[in-house]
């Protein structure tokens, strides 16, 4: 196997600055065919920015990106999609007023339609439509294709988001927190899907849920303040002392999960696992900035569900179900 084959996607010292803020700092990572590479890190670590750099939505400040051995750093976003790069968005980004099927059909059309057919009617392009339906079924949406995408439940919109990325049959899939906003059942389905996808594509997965990441990833990269803190197989990363110091030790591990809501004015938080009626449950104690109670009323002791918002009970439903799912 040549180097290019081994590394389907590679970045070399990739950096991105927004004014004075360096969101991505000297990141060099590689993604092999058939590999699921997870990138973790606290909120604001630069994970989404990294995905934007890879997909071409943002130009890097410095560094290079190689896709299949070719430099694509200067290629516009749409051209990268044609080279086999597809992405999903952390914040659902769909064609809300079009039907579910049309969303995915356009995703197929973007990369698979011969230009000379552009003036033909879409209804006749059965190959495109079949491909779109297959991608929808795979992402867990086998029916309801005539619905307007914006009227789907939030979790289903997340699945649609994934179907749109899948539909292009890309070489490299960049998934930015695909599980965010999904219920436990869909979450499990998507977890299975990710595992099966990783056998055919190279998958770069951004995910907040550490337990999930450790269970599915072949390689892990920990990003902190835009820079790579550690990278390697999950077990190496887990035992890496820098990572342990920064994240996995004690309360700090859970800070990772609380941080997405700085707007709540959370000053400090800790969570612990307890035996619940049907499996382990996570309970959280959160100190909320006394100046900012407005966003999370009744603070003091609250449970946190970063996916749904602020819960006043001491129970974190998503975390609990995710745990059930694993054990």
């Amino acid at each position: 196997m040549t180097d290019a084959e081994a590394h389907l996607l590679r970045t070399i010292a990739l950096s991105k600055s927004f004014g004075g803020l360096t969101a991505v700092r000297d990141v060099s990572l590689s993604l092999a065919r058939g590999e699921l590479h997870a990138v973790i890190g606290p909120n604001g670590a630069g994970k989404s920015t990294l995905v934007n750099l890879l997909s071409g939505a943002l130009p890097p400040t410095s560094g290079r990106i190689l896709l299949d051995g070719q430099d694509v750093t200067g290629l516009p976003q749409h051209a990268r999609a044609h080279r086999g790069l597809a992405r999903s968005f952390q914040r659902t980004n769909i064609l809300a007023s079009l039907t579910v099927l049309e969303n995915v059909r356009l995703a197929v059309q973007a990369v698979a339609l011969a230009p000379r057919r552009l003036l033909a009617r879409p209804e006749g392009e059965t190959t495109l439509i079949e491909r779109a339906k297959a991608a929808l079924a795979r992402a867990g949406l086998p029916y309801g294709h005539s619905r307007i995408a914006g009227t789907l439940a939030h979790g289903q919109q997340r699945q649609l988001e994934i179907a749109m990325a899948l539909a292009a049959a890309p070489k490299v899939l960049l998934l930015d927190e695909p599980l965010a906003g999904m219920g436990p059942e869909e979450g499990e389905r998507i977890a299975q899907l990710l595992k099966s996808l990783a056998t055919e594509h190279a998958v770069l997965l951004i995910e907040h849920d550490m337990d999930f990441v450790f269970s599915v990833a072949d390689r892990l990269t920990v990003l902190v303040e835009g820079a790579v803190l550690a990278s390697g197989p999950p077990e190496n990363v887990r035992t890496n002392s820098a990572v342990q110091a920064a994240y996995l030790g004690g309360h700090a591990a859970h800070l990772l999960r609380v941080e997405p809501y700085p707007a709540w004015g959370i000053a400090e938080a800790s969570t612990r696992r307890e035996r619940g009626a049907d499996g382990p449950e996570w309970h959280g104690e959160v100190d909320v900035d006394p100046h900012d109670h407005g966003a999370c009323p009744g603070a003091g002791r609250v449970g946190l569900d970063r996916r749904r918002g602020c819960h006043r009970s001491g129970h974190v439903p998503d975390r609990a179900s995710r745990h059930r799912l694993r054990s």
Binding site: H78, N93, A110, A120, P122, S146, I148
Partner: protein, 350 residues
Amino acid sequence: MIGPARMLPHSWLGWSLIWLGFCVLAVLPYLVTPFYVGLVTTAMIAAMLAMSLQLLVGATGLVSLGHGAFYGLAAYVVYLVSPEGAAKPIWMTLPLAMAAAGLAAFIIGAISLRTKGFFFLMVTLAFGQLVYFVFHDTKLGGGTDGAYLAKPLISAFGYAFEPTSLPRSMRAWPAYYVALVQLVAMFALLAFFLRSMFGRVLEGIRVNESRMLALGFNTYAYKLAAFTIAGGLAGAAGHMWAMQSGFVNPELVGWHRSAEALLHILIGGIGTLAGPIVGAFAFIFLNEVAQQITERKLLVEGAVILAAVLMMRNGITGIRWLPNLPDTDPDASHEPREGVMQHSREPAND
């Protein structure tokens, strides 16, 4: 289901109304006085301009204030290829006028489409005014006063519809029917585009351009294609205006034309292809009525437009004549519990 092309009627009723409208236009000259034949010709030309702009505004989500430039430019092309003296046949002037307008649209679009939203509005306005001042400040087309065209105006394949050879009551007919044929042809052409996968891409761009870009569509190229086509079609309208009125002046190019076309779209309905036609007709007849009943024409006009726009958010064609026809609501089908059921519910051609 992919869903229907949004801007076209979703039911047989809508289509019937449109074809009925065209049929009425086809027999209208037999029913009304020559004055109204001329007035309806003017309305059809305005409708063509507004409908060409609708490809940008309604279909792609691009609001341009420079569309009048392509319209006026095309009118000037008619003058420039047939200055005082020999008139040129329509099969020559029409393609030339459309090509010139399309070329100008391509160049102006290539630059303006680098910007978005408000800036796009301003850049297209600036380019439109640039073209205006070319005709206003140079002797190219008679300067500020404009110029008269050579006659006969409408001739084809050696046969000239010389208006003076017709009875007085029918002199406006040739221009009327030529305009009607072009209006119907433009409607059919735009319907064809909107139904095609090209049209679906424009719709996707209107809804969420950044997502389309991420999916792999070169949205700039698609927008430029739409801008060029729209410019060329505006050229057909401008050409027809020169044909009908027999003179050109810089007012044809100015931004007022563009704003008026936008107003026609707003009145008729931003979400439909037929909207600009209805809007242009409504506007021009309102104009006429206001002129007959009062000195303060613009005031009446403004008030009626304001009321219309406030009361009908989607314009005249956005009014639901019948509540929710079965096939007007793409979201009507409810999600069944089993996937199997869905197959029996969805038509095979979805």
